[in-house]
Symmetry: C2
Subunit: 605 residues, 2 copies
């Protein structure tokens, strides 16, 4: 039944050989990898507005210059990733470039945070249009998250198809709005901000402008997604990916600069429970049908933006897992040829973030910005080193582009850390070394396992076969014992039964019955004054090994009694489980492990 539900939600298993078919053409790839980048204009606009509005109309007049500055930064970063794609066509952008786990970890963190930021921003767009939904933002975000997780578990190609529609609706409606806005602006002329802006409550300082610039730079997030996902493109992969990146960057720049400019020159100001993009649309369309279309388009792009993370995070995690920095399970393809474990982990982590931060985008931004800018900085710095080492054609120009990019994103990073330290940035600062430590321990573990599992140094002809001593712990004389005793006698001449006596006198009764059925198998009664089963049994095993003194450990044959229905297991003492756990998992010296032979007995009903 569970497996039918799984088939319904996620689809039947796909064979490995159909893997080649799951690659994306450019139109689908743009839909799968760009929504984060495109949609980031929503929360970036919001951050710029919230950052400047405290300084009144004077503050808001800096929106357009800041927007242009961020757009320039975008050009640099996009060029850098374009170079990365061609430099490292196998994918894994920032990771491959930085070549340390430090380089990819911020990317992982940013991907995880991107899902939460995009979903909450999308829900904020919806709640701007329908204020009744404002108190239910957390619940709505969680439902959307569930849908995205399921879609991704079905596999990437379906995700691409599903996501393409909202992406192109968003592009169509937003560009129409921008063009219409420009026409209105040309006819009506600009509205002076001084008329509409609320009074300043803080002075306009350089720090305030820098800080706004840095949080507004979250508009750049998502640019790296394509460089991490090159293997998902149809061949020629690098060329297709590079072109898609350039198209995406141009679209992002136009949307971002256009919307910021319109907001400023039309003198748009937002209410307390409304986003600034919602206020812009309302200013242009006056609560008409077109306003709602814009809000749903925003919700749509932000919902699928979270999908960028679901395309990127599991891929990064798989690369890390293959290199031994994350548990192996993240590198294995699930039934639907998607990285199931990475998708599930991301879904869980995003849900926790949404609940923890009460569904508030603005509260999540500091954590998010640090992850994103750290990844940018390390990746671009890595590229500078790369060009310098290679010293190919135009290496000076290329490394200058990356160098300027690295410096710019580093500045942004430092400003965010300083200005937002108390508001949550410390969480990221604390998390990063902890996670790095975790990566290192995992890596060390896998290395050590490989060493311990190595057959090097073992004599080429392995030691000859010896006969085995066998011990059977018995709880009583019943049919469940028959298979166990038979099996024990089939593998060894030396079989002993052990009865742990919980109540005085039981042992002798059991011995009489035992000897009637198996007179040739000796039975030992071990008293247990504290009514514990496992302790006396382990002691007996150690003692009998010591007595035999043949260097061998007795194997234990466990008769296990398995009822027909799950609830019936509650009706039996799970002694077989307890004994197995003690025998298999308690620390022992290597080479002194005890073999446990499970002989199940299935009840008919």
């Amino acid at each position: 039944m569970l497996s039918k539900l799984k088939d319904l939600l996620i689809g039947p298993a796909l064979p490995t050989q159909s893997l080649g078919h799951k690659q994306l053409n450019k139109i689908r790839a743009l839909a799968a990898f760009s929504p984060d980048a495109l949609a980031s204009i929503a929360y970036a606009n919001q951050e710029i507005y919230l950052g400047l509005v405290v300084a009144g109309s004077l503050g808001l007049s800096y929106a357009w210059p800041i927007g242009l500055g961020i757009t320039s930064l975008l050009v640099i970063v996009a060029l850098s990733y374009f170079q990365t794609i061609h430099g490292y066509p196998s994918g894994g952008g920032s990771y491959i470039v930085a070549r340390t786990n430090l380089g990819t970890l911020p990317g992982l963190l940013a991907a995880a945070l991107n899902a939460a930021v995009s979903l909450t921003a999308g829900v904020a767009a919806l709640a701007s249009a329908f204020p009744d939904l404002w108190p239910h933002r957390v619940a709505i975000a969680l439902v959307l998250l569930l849908v995205i997780t399921l879609v991704n578990l079905r596999g990437l190609q379906e995700a691409g198809t599903f996501m393409a529609v909202p992406v192109y609706i968003f592009l169509g409606t937003y560009f129409s709005m921008l063009v219409y806005g420009l026409i209105r602006l040309a006819i009506e002329g600009p509205t002076p901000l001084a008329v509409v802006a609320p009074p300043a409550i803080q002075p306009l300082t350089l720090f305030l402008i820098l800080h706004t610039f840095s949080t507004g730079s979250t508009a750049l997030t998502g640019v790296e997604a394509i460089s991490n996902g090159v293997p998902a493109f149809q061949p020629p992969q690098a060329k297709n990916a590079g072109r898609t990146l350039m198209v995406m960057a141009v679209l992002m720049g136009l949307l971002f600069a256009g919307s910021i400019g319109l907001t400023q020159f039309l003198g748009v100001v937002a209410g307390p429970q409304e986003t600034i993009l919602s206020a812009l649309a309302r200013r242009l369309f006056d609560n008409g049908a077109l306003y709602y279309v814009i809000q749903f388009a925003t919700l749509g792009i932000l919902t699928v933006a979270a999908n960028t993370s679901f395309a990127g995070f599991p891929r990064l995690a798989a690369i890390l897992a293959r290199d031994g920095f994350l548990p192996r399970q993240f590198s294995s393809l699930g039934d639907r040829l998607a990285f199931t474990n990475g998708i599930l982990l991301l879904g869980f982590f995003t849900a926790v973030l949404i609940v923890l931060f009460g569904g508030d985008t603005h509260a999540l931004i500091p954590l998010f910005a640090i992850g994103a800018f750290l990844a940018f900085t390390l990746s671009q710095a890595g590229m500078v080193v790369h060009w310098w080492k290679e010293r190919g054609q135009h290496w000076g120009l290329k490394s200058s582009i990356n160098g300027i990019g690295a410096l710019a994103t580093l500045t942004t990073l430092v400003v965010v850390i300083i200005s937002k330290f108390m508001e949550g940035a410390w969480v990221t600062i604390l998390l990063i070394p902890l996670i790095v430590l975790g990566f290192r321990r995992i890596f060390a573990h896998y290395i050590r396992v490989r060493e311990e599992l190595s057959l090097k140094g073992l004599p080429p002809s392995l030691k000859p076969v010896e006969t085995t001593r066998v011990v059977i712990p018995i709880s009583g004389i019943h049919r469940g014992m028959v298979g166990a005793v038979n099996f024990a006698r089939s593998i060894s001449e030396n079989v002993t039964a052990v009865f742990v006596e919980l109540e005085p006198g039981e042992g002798e009764k059991a011995r009489v019955e035992w000897e009637a059925w198996w007179p040739d198998v000796p039975m030992v009664v071990v008293p247990s004054p504290y009514r514990s089963l496992v302790g006396p049994l382990l002691q007996f095993l150690d003692e009998t090994d010591a007595q035999h003194n043949d260097g061998q450990l007795a194997a234990v044959v466990l008769p296990e009694f398995i009822p027909g229905k799950w609830w019936q297991t509650l009706l039996h003492n799970q002694t077989a489980w307890l004994i197995k756990a003690a025998l298999l998992y308690r620390r022992r010296k290597p080479g002194r492990e005890r073999v446990v032979i499970d002989v199940p007995f299935h009840l008919r009903l």
Copy 2:
């Protein structure tokens, strides 16, 4: 560390032979088994007051007659249980008498509910004195519950010692209060109710009086505890238990009739967030220190009243478990010679009730009353049958006492069911058949297990030993395989290794390595196009069994790889677990179970 914490909270394990020392003298037994009975005057008083106050002063004037009626009922019920103790000195009162699971189930339910009712009533007494605590009643009740559970897990004798103090404080203070109240009444003369009572909001009907009588009869609950706990008394058990019961019944009767009478004739009326006993004490002591002493004494007796359940419930559950109506685990003595599982179950169930009913005693009473009166009725009806069958000395008188008792408690039961059906009685009505059904299924399961485990019909000389075929699933060629292959070769001539190939080409690589190390053990590669491990392995096993066609099943040797620290298990695919679960627990025909041989390999770090 966990085991140290357990030692600190509960104490070290006790050997079985010290069991005899854990029996109680009469003083301790009265403290251990009477608090429920004594303390029930608190909520019974409250129920009578709440039942009558809606009919104004006319209603309240019926309190004293109803109290006397309930006291008469108490005399009958106490006599009945006195006879039960001497008729069945082995304990398990109502259960042994009714001799069906119907008879003891209501007792179990009532015991569980008693803990919740007593705790919430105790907290109400506290909150009457300190109104600030009123909103925190649930939390306070849960803390008290935790303390009682721990005390009981330490073992019965400690519990008796711990509980004796509040019981005797309660008796001392309450009797002093009653005597002082009688003196005041004699000097001041009665206060007419008409002066103080709130106006009637309902007419005084016969139904209202009957209903008040029936919920007020919860004063009788707890009388049966001693008859269930006879084995805990020092010998001569029946005689000691009988005397303790009679002392207890006299104390109960005096306290109950006395407090009801004083309340009525002193014209005491309670405020909205106060119990009627608190109002009585306040009337007599005017918020002085003595008032607070009375409230703490009430809290104390009610807290330890919950302990009656912790003495009774696990004992009843153990009797039922021994007879096969509950899981066996309830009949086994824990480290401290207490019925640990029963205590833990009761603690959990009580916590759920407290939270579910928001810590309100009045809301819990209907559920409680039904369980209690059903137990009384069935037990007394059973005694009638018993005397009639025996027809010994005075059998006519004895069965009349029990008959009148049964009729009276049956009437009470019917009235509660009718008047409180919508207010929660339906829950009990629904639960009882469901639990009975559960008992029957458990009983049927154990009977069937006994049949299936019987050795009857097996040939006396068991079939001769056959040699075994062995299959080893391998994940790669490493040191973890060495022990498994050696063990397999030590028990069988016929060993096959199986490699499930998740990625095409892996199999051939593995074969080359394998043949270098174990050229004499054949290796088979099984392709897995859907990347599943378990499915292809099971299929291979079935196929190889069919090919050999010797009536035998191949045993499976599983090399299991066990890391040194728990978190490291997350770093490895738990394939050994999955394979074991599939091999051991999937339904198979009896006699066709497959043996699983676990060869652990412990990593050093």
